[in-house]
């Protein structure tokens, strides 16, 4: 037990991190009246109606569906388009390559906030408001820089001899890309996909502007709207918040390695 001080520190920090989450989970099992008298104890009785109400509401599942559809579509487009570009950046030498590549890397500096006004005007004139494409396409575009950088780095590690052999065997550039490079790049593709999914899932500003109608609301919009609607019903809001966090945390527990590996690699190589 000579590590006691270290463990004490970790416990305190652990409570700071997990406390809010556990408080939310447990409070969801209380009624709001019970919550005001019994804030930190275990629920007595355990009230499940908050959670069952969330899980049986059409709005919640519609938001989950909407968030999922948008995240998957964003990722497929962003990763597909980036893989093609990263292939060219990694394995062809041509005039102007570094200029074009730098243009993409500078995209890392461009936050949504800078482009959001003209983007909104653009989407409005193309009638893409209240349309999932109005969120999917801009998100995919903003995901390109990081995805291209990570994939280019990976594609460069694949030996040139492999490509020469494939071309001697009569493989076209696209054939090499599709049949050899992409299957070999599966770990890198997994990493960038996980990053794109999480970014899309958590996006707030763009869906907030694009979706006026509740029809396509994503989970972050839904949570915020629910808080506004049931302002005083604390326990019920907490149940909604907890239910809304579950998919992200579940995804994290499955894809933890790709997520952390990708973020650290993206940060140090970007």
């Amino acid at each position: 037990m000579r590590r006691l001080p270290q463990h004490a520190i970790l416990w305190v920090v652990g409570i700071f991190v997990v406390g809010p989450l556990i408080y939310g989970v447990i409070s969801g099992f209380k009624s709001t009246a019970q919550l005001s008298t019994n804030m930190f104890g275990l629920p007595s009785p355990w009230v499940t109606s908050n959670y069952t109400a969330v899980l049986s509401s059409g709005a919640f599942w519609r938001q989950i569906f909407s968030s999922t559809l948008i995240a998957v579509a964003t990722t497929v487009i962003a990763v597909g388009v980036s893989a093609l570009a990263a292939f060219v950046f990694a394995r062809f030498a041509f005039r102007g390559r570094e200029v074009v590549f730098t243009l993409f890397t500078m995209g890392l500096m461009f936050p949504f906030a800078v482009a959001i006004l003209p983007l909104f005007v653009l989407l409005r004139s193309f009638d893409l408001l209240d349309n999932p494409l109005g969120v999917i396409l801009p998100q995919a575009a903003f995901a390109l820089p990081l995805t291209i950088i990570v994939l280019r780095g990976f594609f460069r590690t694949i030996p040139a001899e492999l490509e020469e052999a494939a071309i001697i065997d009569g493989c076209s550039a696209f054939g090499f890309f599709w049949r050899i490079l992409l299957p070999m790049a599966r770990p890198a593709l997994g990493t960038v996909s996980v990053l794109a999914i999480v970014t899309s899932w958590n996006n707030y500003l763009l869906p907030l502007l694009v979706f006026n109608e509740p029809k396509w609301w994503t989970i972050p919009l839904g949570v915020q709207q629910f808080q506004g609607q049931y302002a005083a019903d604390t326990a019920r809001i907490l149940a909604y918040v907890v239910a809304a966090m579950v998919p992200a945390l579940a995804f994290y527990s499955v894809a933890e390695r790709q997520l952390i590996g990708g973020l650290t690699a993206g940060a140090t190589k970007g």
Partner: protein
């Protein structure tokens, strides 16, 4: 990152005039163009063009409908630097950066050093500390606005039960405490991310070096100060960079919790931009603010990369010419 190793098809070098070579060269260019085209189209139409349009609109007084006709030159920018809210945004952004770099990052580093030792359960601690990072800022904001309800929320009850009620009670509701409270939420959400960066960096430090220092009689603090810290330099510089950029561009969390209030006390540049652009329909002025956000980010990035990260990064923005 050497270019020489991966150069199977060198277009620039293929200059012999034989027809078959010319055709092959043409084919290579066709491949390059067709592979790059989707990314270029997507990126230019939805990232570059909007940013260009923002630059253009920032020169007009424009309400958002019809064509912008009321050209005001740099009027929006001169207005910005007389606007006490915008100047306040700069000051608050500066404070957030100061807090992040001075408190959040050292804290994350301390946790990383702690969890780099052989402690029981360290894998679980790492997993837990990082978890808030995957939650959306909007949901995090809703959760904390419930936890920190002034007077009636659990945080105040907890402080009250240990006799520290004077510490709480205001949180997001008071101009003098709101920014610090937002910073606490930022720390809750992001320190795990920086900790993971540092852990990745620490794992790259060979134990032999630390052992050697130890044999030479260096104590734990000296080993940290003179071996670990310098070797962690590149990671720390990246982490500071990301933290500063994040602070400059902060929006979701603030918008969900306070909308910038009370009376602008937590407003950031992005929130001001949003207010003018989408609530007050002063799109020209809002565009000027978004141009300022971009300008500040870029200037910071260029200066930082040139003077601070120069040794770590080959590539990125500044030394592209050196690279060709």
């Amino acid at each position: 990152m050497t270019l020489a190793a991966t150069r199977p098809v060198d277009v620039a070098a293929a200059s012999a005039p034989t027809p078959s070579r010319g055709r092959r060269r043409l084919r290579t260019w066709a491949t390059i163009v067709s592979f790059l085209l989707p990314a270029l189209v997507l990126f230019s139409s939805l990232v570059l063009v909007p940013i260009g349009v923002a630059l253009y609109l920032s020169l007009f007084k424009w309400g958002g409908f019809g064509a912008p006709t009321d050209f005001v030159g740099l009027g929006n920018f001169t207005r910005m630097f007389k606007d006490s809210v915008f100047l306040g945004d700069l000051w608050r952004g500066f404070l957030l950066i100061l807090f992040s770099v001075g408190i959040q990052l050292p804290f994350a580093l301390a946790m990383a050093v702690l969890l780099n030792q052989k402690l029981r359960g360290r894998a679980i601690y790492r997993l837990l500390f990082f978890a808030p990072y995957v939650l959306s800022e909007a949901i995090t904001g809703v959760l904390f606005s419930m936890l920190l309800q002034p007077g009636s929320g659990p945080a105040d009850h907890l402080l009250g039960s240990v006799g520290l009620e004077s510490l709480g009670g205001k949180w997001f509701a008071d101009g003098s405490t709101v920014l610090v409270t937002i910073f606490v939420v930022i720390t809750w959400k992001y320190f795990g991310f920086h900790m993971m960066l540092y852990l990745a960096g620490l794992q790259g430090i060979p134990t032999e070096i630390l052992e050697a220092a130890s044999i030479d009689g260096a104590g734990a603090w000296q080993r940290f100060r003179h071996v670990t810290l310098p070797l962690l330099g590149p990671t720390i510089r990246i982490s500071v960079f990301l933290s500063v950029i994040g602070a400059i561009q902060l929006f979701d969390l603030v918008w969900v919790i306070t909308r910038g209030g009370p009376t602008h006390a937590s407003e950031t540049m992005a929130v001001t931009m949003f207010q003018f652009g989408f609530k007050r329909f002063e799109v020209g002025y809002a565009s000027a603010i978004s141009v300022a956000i971009l300008g500040i980010s870029l200037v910071f990035a260029l200066i930082y990369q040139r003077f601070v990260m120069r040794r770590d990064l080959e590539g990125a923005v500044t030394n592209m010419r050196a690279r060709r």
